[in-house]
Symmetry: C2
Subunit: 305 residues, 2 copies
């Protein structure tokens, strides 16, 4: 799977992923009002508004980027209806040729991680029929439970040609609380990084592994160290833009081949129409604002790799 | 919320929770066959079978226990249809007076954790209407991202009278890989335990906090230490029974008040009809087998507290 992602990054010349993380407050009024008019103040209305908003953005940007990263929490908060919108969004993006990275951060003990792997990147057997459930291309995974929480995902990466990104050093302000603590002279994130490299050896696909890592743009020093200890690990980089990460911070996240990292922006793209810089497009043309923001982001990221 | 759980534990005299983690291989043939006959080899059939199986178990045991713990991964693997069965299971259990602990192990950066908290124990606002999504009473949470991944859950515990259990020392074989690593002379699980105590101080409800901890039955030495450093933290204990934990191992998980812990069994109860000990009931009477297993488990756990 990682070779497919790399192929698309090379083709678009854009190591960029757009986070489809729709908060209701991001959605232009005309979309929200129409949904509420049709379905009342309900979860159905919210789900319809989210989906319509996503389609507007995806239609405007799909030719520029290799992948999207829908954050499942933003859909899960609307219950079943929200998850239907999540699934439809994943399907729509795949129809448009985009790789879908489900940002689910799942992880549990072995048999339960196996169920999550099945849910997101595998197929479930009912009788003699194998059926995909959410069917993303790649999914993010939490490492706190250790190898037997990760291995079932790696197995599905191998059997079903999919990929994962394991949380190593997250972008949030308190990520250091546990992740930076020193263990035998190394911070926990390095210990996790060593394991990600090891897990990844079992799922190589060309120059890189299907087992990637999440390393926040907000911690460039740590990013540099992790790039060095995980040379064949693709890094998914959240935290650029709205969270404060800048392109200059990302120099060391890329390998010498100009690959090895894909940078995410969510709010900065999907909510571009609310920024002063792109306000000229107006809420009615939110998709065009997102397109302009994607073009600027690609230029910005490419300036450092 | 924790005071409601304690009240029910005292009333039933059973510090026991039953994990509703239905694998298709657990479901008696007559239920699975009927579902496939009606709905084909489909996710709908699987979801129907899971729900019917759950209802059969819950009907047989609801008066004996305070709570159930459905593992959402086991439903998520059947996609939307599976999650509909999850939601219906939660609703059915609440109608029967049971407290529902959603075993979801969610956790992310601040705004995303807020969405997960809303999804599972809160309400989402659409227009001016507040609507619950999955609406469990309590939910399990992963601490890898630190305080700003946990605080949004604590806020919802306070505003909506709910509870969480934070993973501290998990029951699986490789849990020590990161959780047992020494940091300034203390293992990581103790560092996390210290934080759980601290987070819990912001959400006290009687003698205990709404912020609980997950500590596996399979690590009694660690359980003893964690009980001591988190005296007001309720401990959710997985790993009893099928995973190898024994009642004798749990002596130190309880406080002197006989409270402070609730022990989970999943397979050992819901799949009792497949055990030699309860095989006399037969697959047709799987609920009665589960009831007998619950009675035995309650006696076993009460023998050590």
């Amino acid at each position: 799977m990682i070779s497919r992602l790399i192929e698309k990054i090379v083709k678009t010349n854009a190591p960029v992923v757009v986070g489809l993380d729709p908060m209701l407050s991001y959605i232009p009024e005309h979309i929200m009002d129409k949904a509420i008019e049709e379905k009342g103040e309900s979860l159905e209305a919210a789900a319809q508004a989210i989906y319509d908003y996503n389609v507007g953005i995806v239609d405007a940007i799909y030719d520029l980027i290799p992948a999207v990263k829908p954050q499942i929490a933003m859909y899960e908060q609307f219950g079943i209806e929200g998850l239907v919108a999540y699934k439809k969004t994943c399907e729509y993006c795949k129809e448009k040729g985009l790789i879908v990275i489900g940002d689910a951060k799942r992880g549990d003990i072995g048999s339960t991680s196996a169920a999550y792997a099945t849910a997101h990147i595998g197929k479930i057997k009912v009788g003699n029929t194998e059926i995909p459930a959410f069917d993303e291309d790649m999914v993010t995974v939490n490492p706190y439970l250790g190898t037997d929480g990760i291995k079932p995902f790696v197995d599905v990466c191998n059997s079903n040609d999919r990929g994962i990104f394991v949380l190593v050093k997250t972008s949030n302000p308190s990520s250091g609380e546990f992740q930076d603590r020193q263990i035998d002279g190394k911070p926990l994130y390095e210990i996790v990084g060593d394991k990600v490299r090891e897990w990844g050896e079992a799922s190589m696909d060309g120059d890189y592994s299907n087992v990637g890592a999440v390393v926040g743009a907000t911690y460039p020093e740590q990013g540099k160290i992790l790039r060095a200890i995980m040379p064949k690990t693709f890094i998914l980089v959240p935290g650029y833009g709205a969270q404060g990460g800048k392109a200059a911070d990302l120099v060391d996240y890329f390998n010498k081949d100009g690959l090895g990292a894909i940078v995410n922006s969510s709010r900065g793209i999907i909510c571009a129409y609310k920024q002063e810089k792109y306000a000229c497009y107006g809420a009615e043309h939110f998709g065009e604002a997102s397109r302009a923001a994607v073009v600027d982001m690609i230029d910005d990221i490419n300036s450092v790799r």
